[in-house]
Amino acid sequence: MNATNGADGRDARVGPVTPVLTKRWMSPRSWTLKTYEQLEGYTALRKALRAHPDQLIQLVKDSGLRGRGGAGFPAGMKWGFIPQNDGKPHYLVINADEGEPGTCKDVPLMMADPHSLVEGVIITAYAIRSHYAAIYVRGEALHCIRRVHAAVQEAYRAGYLGKDILGSGFDLDVVVHAGAGAYICGEETALLDSLEGKRGQPRLKPPFPATAGLYSAPTVVNNVETIASVPYIVNGGSGWFRTMGTEKSPGPKIYSITGHVERPGQYEAPLGITLRELLKLAGGMKDNIPLKFWTPGGSSTPLLTAEHLDVPLDFEGAAEAGSMLGTTAIQVFNETVSVPWAVMKWTEFYEHESCGKCTPCREGTFWLAQVLQRMLRGEGTPEDVETLLDVCDNILGRSFCALGDGATSPITSAIKYFRHEFLELCEKNQPALAGAQS
């Protein structure tokens, strides 16, 4: 996909889209330390190192920055959970596993501007008194791993990492760790197990990572975009940050738009922008074929329809519309796509990625996928629709982690808005119009 950068302002006909996180993406060799330093890079770090760590935690609390990994947990509050003076090592772990279907923001960020992540890592580590940080990058994103690696090496050479950073007395080592391509390893506790060299499966909580995370020591796990936002907050202040977005969901956000639009790509916008506005940025629906359904934040967030074009895309707005903001991975589908077909594909993903630990998700996704495949073969019955819903009901809120919950979202929301399409499959007893052309 050609990553179209909508953040350079020229396409902006809506909202105050002054690029923040993406402002360097179009600069030549934006990923190098040289470019980064020319464009205010590592100035926030100098400022941060002069502050008391607690001031930084307070600053991020005040900014209202919420996690960009999907759940929207307030970042400053998470940092504040780390016990201080406990005599244990503290760890910072960056979740760069980016596995949620449709999500394509962390990898582009790391490709275009890896130093913003590295700078955010150093400031965060300093704030939580950690001397060791790991960046867990999705295994398939090989060139991205190399790029982050290179940035970390550059930062070491420039004295931003290692011992006595910029003469502050603060030490930090950063390791770039390649995952092995399991969706579940994006779940923070499975990620920690994987990082420790074990099979990636979620851990029982409590204890939460803040008290017993990596190697049972206090650990902060944050998403790439969350941490990359930190240097801007340090430089701009919490008040500036809050000028963007909404009261409860402040700040800028990278929306990744894929599917049937003219210009798919990453679009930075303040939280609360609507799909209608985003579609304008993305050049509208491809070939003007009308919108049929879309996901606001990846396949784990219940899908929405053309009715929802004006839903404000922040944590509260998406929830009010019966969905979730998730990772702001907007997947757009036009009228040519069969909903049951798309749902089957998603369900096959969850079946493939279920870690197997808990019964509802392991067995449920296996069952759901078979029912959907059978329906798509034209061998379904109307009762199957009820079975799908009931099996989802037996998974949602019953599984061990949120993967199982996410697996039910496409199915229940699709049946909610497009039940007739499922029923038609059963009645006509013929294969669906597979959306294979997309």
Binding site: L204, T359, E363, G364, T365, W367, G397
Partner: protein
């Protein structure tokens, strides 16, 4: 049970005790200790929440999601049902289980249906059918029929995990009990989870499809427990698979006869045949676990060479022939009377007797044979050991000085001396591991290498050459670099455990007693065999009468004479001969007869001497289960009952009574005590040991010694031998699963033994020209043992051999033991020298 008491008149609930909380479950008010999981609290109220992954002795997993309940906290309902096995009680909690909450009930039914979609319907041929938690709970909490009409996941079945354990993966519900048992309890990673999603499965490195894994899996001594805790029939044993249905079996509580751990067991049998054995529940002893030897080694009682009829040696042919009891007892009595008259008769009683049988031997020796020549120690032994047992061990009771399992668990530090817990007393090992893993217990080992016992107890090894243990123990308080050991032992509640190998190291018992005195640590003796502690208390020793009475104490003798109805002065006053001395005396003709009960000459320090003694003695009576090297020389063989065919009790290492009843009735087999009683009558003496019950009463009446305890041993610490050119010092002890005759007839179990290897350090191997992986020959002038060499962190100049595993029959082939000098050479490939 801490159900909250009724409210008082004012309608106020009484205060909640410290460390407790008050909550309601299904409307019932209950007080529960903080930290208790909801599923346990409910259980105490009689509310059973269905479960698969939950096990009270394993850490919570929350994996199966079968135990979901609705929870309200601070008046606010939690949005999702919660796993009651992972949620701890809290003050003011309102819990609704499937009995009162439609949401919880639906959630449970849903999970059950999901568990069943991939479960085969092979209950009619599954070993677990009839005792299957999945079957039972599906009937109770599941839907009557399934909506699943698609294709089930299948696997080729079964895969052998070991020679004993088979795995049918399609039956598995992935509760992870077996893998958590392996990781947490046994610590051997015998089983682990592989793959993910619906392909997730239990397996080993040997079954993993991972390219190049090619492992063979981990060996485990505790593998049978995984079968027992599997809530479905996914894990089965080769020994029992397809042999019986649980509802056709009789289940009888029993006690394991294999070692001094003293596990409670359950024996399942039908039509006069034991079909399987399981771990019994005894929180104070084995919790819910046992070792594979205890579980699987029981077919020895049906071996083809079992002695079922009395036999006497035919004058003319010189062969044993069957005889009537009358003839055999008469012949035995005549022979023993004649031998007694000549130079006397000694009694070798063996270490596997019940307390009652042991007592009968002790009494038989004194009353019928008029001697103190009696010893249960059919293994290396020493006078120092005798002194140690008399001064430190005999008569210690659990309720005062005696060390218990619970004491191990609570100890700040435990020092294992000449004791290999996993091999010699597996339940002691499990408790030490638990103490170290979940508590703050530091476990130290004085031994030769970082054995699995050391590793899995998170142990700290104080390594020394075999034979140097006494010197090392003596020097512990003097060596500043080991100050931590002494410091740790000084903490209240610390324990020193000493094993039977200490008898092979002069000065070690004395040094251990001094260390315990110096640090205040408590001292316990952990023998290997199930009968040793009982035999000690029963007086099967040349210096001790029953109840720990020294034979040299006239008052003690008088007490016994009175109780036994003997004339004053009837009991011999001089200490008798120990096992070794009896054998030497028999060989030289100074002893004319031997009564031998369940002794394998090849377990003795010098098997050749034992065989010579048996040959040289005028008259040998053997009380035996099966034909052996003893019956080969015996003049009369009297069959005795195995544990399963008699009642009685053992004393485990703690000194705890482990009583058991007869499981297989009416086999006609009689216990040793009865045989000895009748034999004594033929010799004109009365033992009053006709039945185990009568015997126990007789022993009970005697009570215990209240006089002054003999002095502690004061033997100087010996130094280890120094190996010369081509030599090494031998370290050796027995493996849990080895060539022991009680494990005969169970090839599936034998296949799970640790592979016998000769261990030595890289430096020693280089010096001796030995190549790892290649055969190495360890020899004395008596013979040789050849095994593959394995690199191990032994001190230099030391070679380790398993005492009785595979071709390594150390005592029989080498006539040597722990601490002996041996020659070590690279063997030409191609087998035993």
């Amino acid at each position: 049970m801490t159900v909250a008491p009724e409210q008082n008149q004012q309608g106020e609930a009484p205060p909640v005790p410290e460390g407790h909380v008050r909550l309601t479950i299904d409307g019932v008010d209950v007080v529960a200790p903080k930290g208790e999981m909801l599923i346990r609290t409910a259980e105490r109220l009689g509310i059973v929440i269905p479960r698969f992954c939950d096990h009270p002795l394993l850490e919570p997993a929350g994996a199966c999601r079968q135990c979901l309940v609705e929870v309200e906290m601070g008046g606010r309902p939690m949005p999702k049902p919660q796993a009651s096995c992972t949620m701890a009680v809290a003050d003011g909690m309102v819990v609704r289980t499937q009995r009162t909450s439609p949401v919880a009930d639906k959630a449970q039914q849903g999970v059950m249906e999901l568990l069943l979609i991939n479960h085969p319907l092979d209950c009619p041929i599954c070993d677990k059918g009839g005792e299957c938690p999945l079957q039972n709970q599906a009937l109770k909490h599941g839907r009557a029929d399934s909506r699943f009409v698609d294709v089930k996941r299948t696997f080729p079945k079964p895969i052998p995990v070991t020679s004993q354990i088979l795995l049918d993966r399609e039956r598995c519900v992935l509760c992870q009990r077996c893998t958590r048992f392996s990781q947490q309890i046994a610590g051997d990673r015998f089983l682990d989870m592989l793959e993910r999603g619906v392909h997730q499965q239990v397996g080993t490195s040997g079954t993993a499809a991972i390219e190049g894994a090619g492992g063979t899996g981990e060996q485990s001594y505790f593998s049978g427990n995984t079968i027992q805790i599997c809530p479905v029939g996914a894990l089965t044993s080769a020994a029992y698979r397809f042999r019986a249905r649980p509802f056709d079996l009789m289940s009888t509580p029993s006690v394991c006869e294999h070692c001094a751990s003293g596990c409670a067991q359950r024996t399942d049998w039908r039509r006069g045949k034991v079909m399987r054995r399981l771990a019994g529940e005894d929180p104070a002893v084995n919790e819910e676990w046992n070792c594979d030897k205890g579980r699987f080694a029981f077919t020895y009682t049906t071996a083809a060479d079992r002695v079922l009829r009395p036999m006497v040696r035919d004058d003319r042919s010189g062969e044993l022939r069957e005889a009537s009891w009358t003839e055999a007892l008469r012949t035995a009595a005549d022979g023993l009377l004649a031998a007694r008259k000549k130079n006397g008769v000694g009694v070798l009683a063996g270490g596997r007797l019940t307390v009652e049988d042991a007592y009968a031997y002790a009494k038989f020796a004194r009353v019928a044979l008029g001697t103190n020549d009696v010893d249960f120690r059919a293994r290396p032994h020493s006078t120092e050991e005798l002194e140690f047992l008399a001064s430190e061990v005999v008569g210690t009771r659990l309720d005062d000085e005696g060390v218990s399992y619970a004491d191990l668990e609570a100890a700040p530090a435990v020092l294992c001396v000449a004791f290999e817990p996993e091999e010699e007393s597996p339940i002691v090992f499990l408790r030490l591991r638990k103490a170290a893993r979940t508590g703050k217990t530091r476990v130290f080992h004085i031994g030769q290498w970082r054995t699995p016992s050391v590793e899995k107890t998170f142990g700290e090894l104080v390594a020394c050459a075999p034979g140097a243990e006494a010197t090392v123990v003596s020097a512990l308080p003097l060596r500043s670099e080991r100050a931590d050991v002494v410091e740790a032992l000084r903490r209240t509640g610390s324990v020193v455990l000493v094993g039977e190998r200490a008898a092979e190291i002069p000065g070690l018992f004395s040094a251990v007693v001094r260390l315990a005195d110096l640090t205040g640590a408590r001292l316990a003796w952990v023998p290997r065999r199930a009968g040793e502690r009982g035999a000690l208390e029963a007086g099967v020793l040349p210096t001790l009468l029953p109840g720990g009475r020294p034979v040299t104490d006239p008052d003690a003798r008088a007490e016994v004479e009175l109780s036994w109805g003997l004339r004053p002065g009837a009991l011999p006053a001089r200490p008798g001969r120990d096992t070794g001395a009896m054998l030497a005396a028999a060989t030289s003709g100074e002893l004319s007869g031997l009564v031998v009960g369940g002794v394998d000459p090849y377990d003795l320090p010098d098997p050749r001497l034992a065989e010579e003694a048996l040959r040289a003695a005028d008259f040998v009576v053997s009380l035996e289960l099966r034909h052996s090297a003893v019956t080969a020389h015996a003049d009369v063989v009297l069959p005795v009952a195995p544990a399963v065919e008699k009642s009685g009790s053992y004393l485990n290492w703690e000194g705890r009574q482990r009583p058991f009843g007869t499981i297989l009735e009416g086999t006609g087999a009689v216990p040793d005590c009865r045989v000895l009683d009748t034999l004594a009558v033929e010799m004109d003496a009365d033992l009053f040991t006709q039945t185990p019950e009568a015997t126990a009463d007789d022993l009970q009446r005697l009570g215990v010694y209240s006089g002054r305890r003999p002095d502690t041993p004061r033997e100087p610490a010996s130094a280890a031998h120094r190996p010369g050119q081509g030599q090494a010092v031998l370290a050796t002890w027995r493996q849990l699963i080895d060539n022991g005759s009680l494990q005969d007839g169970e090839p599936h179990l034998a296949g799970t033994a640790r592979a016998p290897v000769a261990r030595l350090s890289a430096v020693t191997a280089r010096r001796l020209g030995v190549v790892f992986g290649e055969p190495v020959t360890v020899a004395t002038e008596r013979g040789a043992v050849t095994l593959p060499a394995a690199e191990t962190d032994l001190p230099d100049g030391v070679v380790w051999l398993p005492t009785n595993s595979g071709p390594s029959a150390v005592r029989r082939n080498l006539g040597a033991g722990h601490g002996a000098l041996v020659t070590v050479t690279a063997a030409p490939t191609g087998g035993e020298a």
